[in-house]
């Protein structure tokens, strides 16, 4: 219902036209960025986002394929503009920044912000953020375990990169001199400029056509509308205080597991995310900036409300986060931040875990819950430097009535894989395995998804390889009697003198060596001995679950000659399991 305070000048048609037009502009920016980008991470894996702000710095429309960009720009853009001085920017200018301690996230995510002017008057801003494959620092792809943010790469405070439509060459050269990806970075920055140019042009056209004041009035209405719908959706949630704790397995420097504590307080005012009790920040890469933590909370809220509620300032005002300064969920300089996304991912999983008892029908068991980076590079056999980055999928958690899907990205992350053929054509690496990991599922009435295996073999040159991931000690948890998924493993030379690597490590490989990732399976939901034997049979038939495991964990006896279930034997096995449930052998 429209509230009584609704201003008289409300035309439902105009409302919809302006709302669609703003979204369309953000989408057009995204399409431009993706299609004209150079690095695999942006063009194929869509690791970027675009946003439009009004002159008051309220976000009014956004486009992204990765929900972990929720809130990234909304935190950064106002702070960067304040820092730089918005009044110093003229038409055709743009500022560049990746500063983690000025509202940013990790250094690879570089943002370009352009003011939009109409007849000399400042009317808004457009911004694009993209994950660049390399920003310098201690290892190719700028990922790795370091002690300070200064080791992680070039820190760019808000600086003017574009003036009157042309690159400021001094700044561009200074930035480019710090990075390894000499081929991709200039092209990717150009793509960001292209996206902002298109966005500014379109916003300008819209304002010119409909009038600045008129559009501003409807932006107010659109934000109010979003606020109203978000508020009414949150009012449907179960009230109470819901807590959970969890850890990152390791911080990269041998410290104790990194504790994350989450409490969701849901009452008539909405949802408050209280992260008090999370560990103090580390001299290790696992620190999340406030913006990264905020994005995890924003993602969770988005999952709990209708997907067609717009994402603008009217939504973001409901993301209320208490994250103690100086903690791993709101770090301060000079803490390193490159694995802050790992913390962000685990935090999302823990927030869901907290809600599971209150919302058992909606919440999945533990998921991959990590970004799981693979980054490598160095001089090619022909001497030119190259740099590669990708992230790997894993198992999703089981849900009430649904198995967890195998090998998918989870939560804020939805990046695509790089095709093997394209990777091999562009980089001197050979992918020798890309497959599901059998028996890695967290057993349950509704089982978790399988993790995956990907092997990188370097036939003819030495290379620096970095693993930045987690979950190699504790697999994703089960729910309501479900068992955890198999933990991940990061293996050097799986076929020879193999040994396990830490989930956060950089190694120098010689020609002929291989790194093998085995990502974790998702957690199970409900007791495995309650799983429909037909589903167990199907899993054994497909090879996803071994017959041995079917017997000992699911209590199902299968005739693998005829693919039938021995029902009396199954009943007996299950009777035994009910009195003494199996423990996951992994």
């Amino acid at each position: 219902m429209v509230e009584a305070s609704q201003p008289a000048a409300y035309d439902p048609i105009r409302f919809e036209v302006i709302r669609n037009a703003l979204l369309e502009i953000a989408e057009e920016m995204a399409i431009t960025l993706r299609r004209s980008a150079y690095s695999t991470n942006i063009k194929t894996r869509a690791d970027f986002s675009c946003a439009i702000f009004d002159a008051d710095l309220r976000v009014i429309a956004q486009a992204f394929a990765q929900p972990n960009h929720l809130g990234s720009l909304t935190e950064l853009v106002p702070r960067a503009l304040t820092f730089y001085g918005a009044e110093r920017l003229g038409p055709g200018d743009a500022i560049l920044t990746n500063h983690p301690y000025l509202g940013g996230v990790h250094l690879n995510d570089i943002t370009l912000i352009s003011p939009v002017h109409l007849e000399g008057q400042l009317v808004g801003y457009v911004a694009s953020l993209a994950h660049h494959v390399d920003v310098g620092g201690g290892a190719p792809a700028s990922i790795g375990a370091f002690r300070e943010v200064y080791q992680e790469g070039v820190i760019i405070p808000p600086v003017r990169l574009v003036k009157g439509g042309a690159f400021v060459d001094d700044v561009l050269r200074l930035v480019l001199a710090q990075v390894r990806a000499q081929q991709e970075t200039p092209g990717d920055l150009r793509a960001q400029v292209a996206a902002n140019t298109v966005g500014a042009r379109r916003l300008n056209e819209l304002l010119l056509r409909l009038g600045v004041d008129h559009v501003r009035h409807y932006i107010d209405l659109i934000i109010d509308y979003t606020d109203r719908r978000t508020r009414s959706a949150l009012a449907q949630l179960p009230r109470g205080s819901f807590s959970a704790e969890g850890t990152l397995d390791n911080d990269g420097y041998g410290g104790p597991p990194v504790k994350l504590a989450a409490r969701l307080l849901i009452d008539e005012t909405g949802v408050l995310f209280d992260l008090t009790g999370s560990d103090p920040q580390r001299r290790a890469p696992v620190n999340s900036t406030y913006a990264q933590t905020f994005a995890a909370c924003a993602y969770l809220l988005k999952c709990l409300i209708s997907p067609d509620i717009p994402t603008n300032a009217g939504f973001y005002r409901h993301v209320r986060v208490l994250a103690p300064e100086g903690s791993v969920v709101n770090c301060v300089a000079p803490a390193p931040v490159v694995a802050g996304w790992e913390t962000h991912m685990r935090l999302t999983d823990i927030l869901l875990h907290a809600l599971a008892p209150a919302m058992p029908e909606q919440i999945p068991a533990g998921t991959k819950g990590m970004i799981c980076h693979a980054g490598f590079g160095g001089p090619r056999p022909n001497g030119s430097y190259y740099c590669f980055l990708e992230t790997l999928a894993g198992g999703y958690g089981g849900r009430a009535g649904l198995d967890g899907p195998d090998a998918v990205q989870t939560h804020g992350q939805n990046t695509e894989n790089a095709p093997v053929e394209e990777t091999e054509a562009n980089y001197p690496v050979r992918i020798t395995h890309y497959a599901l990991v059998d028996d890695s599922e967290g057993p349950g009435c509704w089982r978790g998804g399988l993790g995956l295996r990907r092997d990188y073999y370097f036939p003819d040159h030495a290379v620096t390889f970095t693993i930045l991931a987690d979950r190699d000690r504790n697999g994703p948890w089960g729910l309501f009697g479900g068992l955890p998924g198999r933990p991940a493993a990061y293996i050097r030379n799986p076929n020879g003198a193999s040994h396990l690597l830490s989930s956060k490590s950089t190694v120098e490989l010689s020609a002929g060596e291989t790194i093998s990732y085995r990502t974790c399976g998702g957690g199970g939901y409900g007791h495995p001995y309650d799983r429909d034997p037909q589903l167990v049979l199907a899993d054994v038939r497909s090879g996803k679950v071994s017959n041995e495991r079917a017997r000992t964990i699911y209590g199902v006896s299968i005739d693998t000659q005829r693919w039938t279930i021995d029902l009396p034997a199954t009943e007996q096995l299950r009777e035994r399991l009910r009195s003494a449930p199996a423990v996951d052998p992994t």
Binding site: V2, E3, P12, I13, R14, F15, E16, V17, N20, L23, E24, E27, T32, R35, S36, A37, Y38, S39, T40, K43, P67, Q183, G187, A191, A194, T197, R209, L210, Y225, R228, K302, C303, P307, I363, P364, L392, A393, R399, L402, P405, D406, A407, V408, Q409, T415, E416, P419, V420, E421, E422, A425, R430, T432, H433, Y434, A435, L436, R541, S542, K544
Partner: protein, 705 residues
């Protein structure tokens, strides 16, 4: 006498369109579709229209079929039992797909189940590198062993996709020979033949779909052929492809993956044809029916195609499809944006107090509230009726008498009261909100793809298209709006007005500047020879054939290609041509993305060749010419709502069948015919051409809604 017959099978109805090749007269028949065996409906429709027209089966020269058999086979999971062979270490390629989720915020999402169950996926020891050089030879014993196992497992089809086979198909061919030794009955599809382009998952998915659909599609097409022949039909039998071209039933049996969007392709093909009739090359095709609106492009006379399509993908709220919710194919498919906004789309007020339209539809039953069949929710049709744009007693030629009061009540109760506005304002809001979604779709296919609507004409058809197109044309600023005669049958006309077409592609990754002209010429020549041979099999030779050659280019390091069409003189890719193409590529990149990098190297990715065999175009019926003044066609006046007039005004209503060539109608006006209603807005003027088409132009400043 000679005739063409088009048969288009939809979910509810099977349409038959009979065209008299000499007079250009058309006749339509509709029968109920028979989903269990669509060929029954096909035959029934054919028999009925021939009987009604008094035409003998032997008088048919051409039969063209638009079919959903391939899509339905996938969506309904009825493909033939299929196995998948790939390189060892990669048997889970179909399971992993792109490792993404189709829905970002849905904690209960699912991934589409692979089309081949995992126990029928095999990794075979063999390996090539990215240049096609041998790393590990094919293990012949392993292939034979798998073939033997599959034979006893009751598999009908085998899809083979080895890594880097797009550049070196040798291992795949060897595998086929080995499989045939031990399992001669199996249908075998090689990725290097079905879709020889790099990116293994996309190639594998295309190959698997071809393999699993093939036995079903072949059966279907052959059974139609047998029955048509038994009926005495000697005509050439053709089937519509997803690209908008047609090919023979025999080609359809071989390459059914090209039939996936056979049904929806006809509409844009019709628009392209109408464009050639009126001398327009660049068009936006707008087809609005009961449940959805579809928008697509015709560029330089050819329907625009995309290579980024998923079979069975879920519609997203708004427009488009959720990536990763279906099965990708890499064969050319009409680039079509479909949104849930049709005449039957339901209007509602959401929990934020805003009017929304669709995507739910009242369908045919109960249908809009005004049908009086028990529908209580207001639809776009109800809103148009209340605004006076539809006539209560002339809808669908008077088949249904529309109930204005029922429409008003539905709009009042569901929209106006909750918003505290009057039903007329609400009705106008419903129409305009539906329009705003369609405008977004129109901008998506034009501006967002780098095409300027000011250089294009909008062709509107489908029962509801001409009702809405006037507003859309003004809003997007296209050059003119064209409304063909009998818009409800335009789509079917597309079946009868297109060319034979065969599409081929070869991946050749190298710098454009250093591409080997001989290798390029050789690849084009191979594709052309294959196309010519196939066309010859379809009875088309010499002058009537034409090759369209294209290159997929990008900057070294990018991974989205732009496709350039080569001129005849650019066939030989020597240094000078290469430099000229690079120039064109920079300009095209600048046009689409607003940026280019002329100092950077351009990479050649794929060569594409479309072999086109021309079929004589049908002649459209012409109408007599008359005076400029349309008074002779005036039927009546009634009050119609226009925002420009701030409400209802007395509006002339014209009878389309009495319009004569040369007449000019000044807006506001309504033009009614049996299957559609056209709205001419204030500040617009429509002129009638010799084919009875309305050409609508903006003649003054139209204020936006």
């Amino acid at each position: 006498m000679s005739y063409r017959l088009g048969i288009d099978i939809g979910g509810t109805f099977t349409d038959a369109l009979l065209l008299d090749e000499t007079s250009g007269t058309m006749r339509i028949a509709k029968v109920s579709s028979t989903p269990a065996d669509p060929s029954i409906g096909f035959l029934e429709a054919a028999r009925r229209i021939l009987a009604e027209a008094g035409v003998a089966p032997a008088e048919l020269r051409l039969v063209v079929h638009g079919t959903t058999v391939a899509t339905n086979t996938i969506i309904e999971g009825k493909g033939a039992p299929t196995a998948f062979l790939t390189t060892e270490g990669f048997r889970d390629m179909l399971e992993i797909a792109r490792q993404t989720r189709p829905a970002l915020y849905d904690l209960r999402f699912t991934k589409p189940a692979p089309l081949v169950p995992r126990h029928l996926c095999y990794g075979i020891p063999e390996r090539l590198d990215h240049r096609g050089a041998l790393i590990t030879p094919l293990n012949a014993e392993a292939v034979r062993a798998v073939g033997t196992e599959l034979r006893s497992a009751g598999v009908a089809a085998i899809a083979v996709c080895f890594l880097h086979s797009y550049i070196n198909p040798e291992h795949e061919r060897q595998a086929r020979d080995l499989l045939r030794e031990v399992f001669p009955e199996a249908q075998i599809a090689l990725s290097s033949e079905v879709a020889p382009e790099f990116r293994e998952y996309l190639r594998a998915s295309t190959t698997v779909i071809n393999a699993t659909v093939q036995p079903i599609a072949a059966n279907y097409l052959r059974s139609i052929e047998v029955r048509l022949r038994a009926l005495g039909v000697h005509a050439e039998l053709l089937v519509m492809q997803s690209s908008g071209g047609v090919f023979s039933f025999a080609s359809g049996c071989e390459r059914p993956v090209f039939l996936i969007e056979s049904g929806p392709a006809a509409g844009v093909t019709a628009a392209a044809y109408l464009g050639t009739v009126i001398g327009r090359q660049n068009l936006i095709a707008f087809d609005m029916g009961g449940t959805t609106a579809k928008v697509s492009l015709v560029l330089e006379g050819m329907p625009r195609v995309t290579k980024d399509f998923e079979v069975g993908a879920m519609a997203m709220p708004g427009s488009g499809r959720a990536r990763g919710s279906g099965y990708p194919i890499r064969t050319p498919v009409i680039d079509l944006v479909e949104i849930g906004a049709g005449g039957g789309s339901i209007a509602w007020v959401d929990d934020g107090g805003v009017v929304r339209v669709g995507p739910r539809s009242a369908g045919a039953d109960p249908g809009p509230a005004c049908y009086g069949r028990g529908g209580t929710e207001p639809t776009v049709t109800d809103a148009n009726l209340l605004l006076g744009r539809l006539s209560p007693d002339r809808f669908l030629g008077g088949e249904i008498i529309l109930d204005v009061d029922a429409a008003r009540t539905a709009i009042q109760e569901r929209c106006a009261t909750p918003l505290g506005i009057d039903p007329i304002t609400a009705a106008h809001a419903i129409v305009e909100i539906a329009n705003s979604a369609m405008i977004a779709a129109l901008r998506l296919v034009t501006v967002q793809r780098g095409f300027d609507p000011r250089d294009m004409d909008l062709v509107a058809f489908g029962g509801a298209g001409p009702l809405h197109a006037g507003r859309l044309a003004t809003e997007i600023g296209c050059r003119s709006l064209v409304i063909p005669f009998s818009p409800g049958t335009t789509s079917a006309l597309g079946l009868l007005a297109t060319d034979l077409r065969h599409d081929y592609a070869t991946t050749m990754l190298c710098r454009l500047a250093t591409a080997d002209p001989m290798a390029v010429a050789g690849a084009f020549a191979r594709m052309e020879a294959e196309g010519l041979a196939t066309l010859a099999g379809e009875g088309v030779h010499g002058e009537a054939t034409r090759a369209i050659r294209q290159l997929d280019l990008r900057y070294v390091g990018q991974s989205h290609e732009l496709t350039l069409t080569l001129g005849e003189e650019e066939k030989l890719l020597d240094g000078a041509t290469g430099a000229r193409l690079a120039e064109r590529f920079h300009r095209e990149h600048e046009r689409i993305y607003g940026t280019s990098a002329p100092h950077e190297a351009v990479e050649l990715v794929s060569l594409r060749l479309s072999m086109v065999g021309q079929i004589t175009r049908p002649q459209l019926r012409t109408i007599p010419s008359g005076p400029t003044d349309p008074a002779a066609a005036l039927r009546t006046h009634r009050p119609v709502f226009f925002a420009e007039h701030g409400g209802y005004g007395d509006c002339p209503i014209y009878d389309r069948y009495r319009l004569q060539s040369g007449m000019t109608i000044a807006g506001p006006a309504i033009v009614e015919e049996l299957d559609s209603t056209s709205v001419i807005h204030p500040h617009q003027r429509a002129t009638i051409d010799r084919y009875g088409m309305l050409h609508v132009q903006v003649v003054g400043l139209a204020s936006p809604a």
